[in-house]
Amino acid sequence: MLHSDNLISNGHRALVSAGSKPGLKKEWLGPLAALVVVVLILSVLRPSTFLTWENFRAITDQASIPFILAMGASFVILMGCIDLSIEGVMATAALIFVLLSANSVNSVDLGIGAPLIALLAGTLMGLLTGVIHTVFRVPSFMVSLGTWFIGLGIATVLFGDSIPQLSGHLTRTWASASPLGVSNAFVVSVVFVMVAKFVSDNTLMGRFTYAIGADENIASLNAVAVNRHKVYVFALAGFCSALAGVIGSSRLGVGVVDLGSGQLFQTIAAAVIGGTLLSGGRGGVINSICGVLLVVIINNGLILLGVSPVFQRAVSGLVIVVAVVATAFSQRSRLRIVK
């Protein structure tokens, strides 16, 4: 989003010596270490409540939707862009899903078609964001801000006068059912993460995303269709938001406009804490997963420790600050410019 000169593609001597120092072999070792530390601390402080199966279940449930959202967000952020429309697309997808499944407000029931159409809608919204960004050269920050409101607006219009409730048995219970021990939602999110990791490391989609994040001009010199690719990535992010919306409303059993409220902050926080740089080209799937887990587990820990909800936000906020300061600390140098 805001470009720093962390990646100096010109590689001139003077800057190589004054710029970023060679980092860790694997970029996600830092966040992973932090995660381990946090888990250890909580295990020591609250062994009877933290280290239980119920708590693990609770954590996995909490992490399902953020995992999915973090995948879409990671790809977007790796390109150096940002997607603020998460909550809006979630809302739209949720309402479409509920209104097209067996529900309390109308007599439509498209069965499996309902979530599929909802996912399609989300993808189209992401596509819209991507197209406006690339065709009109408007910063993704602004475009996705607009599509966020549009998404909320569509959801509001669909919402009508009363809360649509899911009436089908499958739709209401599927997400929370746990035939495998952990909720289906979590299973889906884990599979999604594994696919995302494969894509980011071994496919054109993934590699080009990194290339665009490093330097768009150079990427395009290397036969990367930058604009087209960006549109694909935003569409993917829309898909992720829609999937999160479908799962979320299935869990709640209703379709509401503020389903995704607070998810944007949490998703961006997870990316930042995980070390996926907002300037692009650095970080990735594992970084974001570590970030999500850190956010979820810290929140979980705060509840177990009995910290008043009033202070939870401050703690989350301070974690973000500490995370970035810790990551950047070793890189400090005279002329380093970070925006």
């Binding site: 805001l2 050269r137 408007v138 219009v157 401050a314 906020g317 600050v321 970035v324 002329l335 925006k339």
Partner: protein, 324 residues
């Protein structure tokens, strides 16, 4: 590596027509509204617009300096909320000093942001994102988790809203004056030249002796002060303050206002005067939708669409090296 082809397009370093794009967009929007409600402009329409726009303008002005440096302050709206509850609580004990102390609180918060960002060389997006949480918790604590009603010593901030000249409140005039001041500083002071140079190429600025750390901290401190002023105005307008109040939802509109004012997110480009126009555009969207008779349920869609259109029309693409 400059061919004759490149040299023939030697551009001027400053003004060109794009500077009037935000104004054009505003006039178009006003024009559309006038078609539906001809008396909007001549009646109280503009006054209502000013009332809504002033907090956005104040936040936008604070954001202006930060964005000029190529950074961002995501915590400004939350800081405005903190200020609004603070001034509400402080009026009783401190009387006339309450607003002053509140602005100092805002400046101190901005100062803290700036120091962390500058000393640790960390991304402003991340630090101010974290700061949101901290200011939110502080707001809850100061407001005792309820809505604070301003009763004692109301008059010390009331005048911001109730003192009216030609239908416009004192806050509006203060806001306009501050925008002009910001513009003058950018154009005619060394500080302004430093900010512009840093926004365009911070490294070269540092190598030319510009005190980059000091400027960064100063700009964030100013952003904090402006946010505090916006919070005070909000409390004056509403008579109450709460930690979950109006302020939080003003962050993105205030950034949108700055962008619609032609300021580039990458820094170094834009004018404070246009932030006035930008905030009017942003405030106009909900106001105008109501006047034009858009169904309330559709208003958010309209908001989103108009913001996108406004930005498309006002962004100065010639100055943007790349778009992210």
């Amino acid at each position: 590596m400059n061919s004759p082809a490149d040299r023939s397009t030697a551009r001027l370093g400053s003004a060109d027509l794009k500077v009037f794009a935000p104004l054009a967009v505003l006039l178009i929007l006003l024009g559309i509204i006038s078609i539906f409600q001809p008396s909007f402009v001549s009646g109280v329409g503009l006054e209502i617009l000013a009332y809504q726009a002033i907090p956005i303008l104040l936040l936008g002005l604070g954001q202006f300096g930060v964005i000029q440096l190529g950074r961002i302050d995501l915590s400004s709206a939350t800081l405005a909320v903190l200020a609004s509850v603070s001034v509400a609580q402080l009026l009783e004990p401190l009387g006339v000093f309450a607003p002053v102390v509140t602005i100092l609180i805002g400046a101190a918060a901005g100062f803290a942001n700036g120091m962390v960002i500058s000393y640790f060389q960390v991304p402003s997006f991340a630090v101010t994102l974290g700061a949101i949480g901290v200011w939110q918790s502080l707001s809850l604590v100061i407001a005792n988790e309820t809505t604070v009603y301003v009763s004692e010593n109301r008059k010390f901030i009331d005048w911001l809203d109730s003192l009216q000249i030609c239908g416009y409140s004192a806050a509006v005039f203060i806001g306009l004056a501050l925008a002009v001041l910001a513009w003058a500083v950018t154009r005619w002071t060394r500080f302004g030249a430093f900010v512009k140079a840093m926004g365009l190429n911070e490294r070269a600025a540092a190598m030319s002796g510009v005190p980059t750390a000091v400027v960064t901290v100063a700009v964030f401190t100013i952003s904090g002060a402006f946010a505090a002023l916006a919070g005070i105005v909000l409390t004056a307008q509403q008579g109450t303050a709460s930690a979950s109040g109006l302020g939080v939802g003003l962050l993105l509109p205030s950034i949108a206002a700055t962008i619609c004012g032609g300021v580039a997110l990458t820094g170094g480009v834009g004018s404070a005067l246009n932030v006035i126009v930008g905030s009017m555009i942003i405030a106009l969207i909900p106001v105008g939708s109501s006047v034009v008779g858009v169904d309330p349920r559709y208003q958010q869609i309209v908001y989103g669409v108009v913001i996108i259109l406004a930005v498309i029309l006002t962004i100065d693409r010639t100055k943007l090296k790349f778009v992210k």
